[in-house]
Symmetry: C2
């Protein structure tokens, strides 16, 4: 069972490999994704699959800005930058994800923190 | 009323000025602090005061690792490094804070993400 930090590194690596299945495998079947925080959640396996299959198709690449943080509980968090093309234009989005894990080491909740002014042309 | 990002920058600046009152003023009276996440919360004005008055006495200095992130809701988040002396030894702690704000622009909840292996000698 990966540690929470290893799972977050795996999330980054799977994105950069364009491997939606590897991302989805990190999540519990009843996981909830809130990305970005403040918008409606994606709940459960089918919604998670649709979210990441669509995401990977954008060709987005993720790079850590600073080492992944753990916690004294069931969470880990990371600050990273996403580079992607949206409607033909290169964009950079700065994000902080917080992931909560269940007792099986799967992500049960993901919350992505970024606002309109965290996206810029690149 | 400061934006959430401005409040987080104010939090950093107040720590570095050793100004516990300025930190405490950012919080709602009934705010909850979980630092680090996974340990018992500090709830309400008296607990918050004790927490930050003690914290500032350590002489800790905070520096952002990457720009503060906002959200599409009532939150902002930041990744930073703390340099402080604990029992005479210099320590570095890598942290990601997530702050939630109330309708008056005050912090209603703060969760700090760092684990035992995010602290090191410096």
């Amino acid at each position: 069972m990966p540690t929470p930090k290893e799972a977050l590194q795996g999330y980054i690596d799977a994105w950069n490999a364009g491997d939606a299945e590897a991302i989805i495998a990190l999540f519990a079947d009843d996981a909830v994704i809130v990305d970005p925080y403040g918008t409606p959640p994606h709940e459960g396996r089918d919604a998670i699959r649709a979210f990441y299959e669509g995401g990977v198709k954008t060709g987005a690449k993720l790079s850590l800005d600073t080492p992944i943080r753990g916690s004294h509980g069931d969470r880990a968090a990371m600050a990273f930058t996403v580079e992607l093309a949206l409607e033909g234009a290169a964009r950079r989005i700065r994000v902080i994800d917080v992931m909560t894990f269940d007792e099986h080491g799967k992500i049960s909740r993901m919350e992505a923190h970024w606002g309109p002014d965290d996206m810029e042309q690149s």
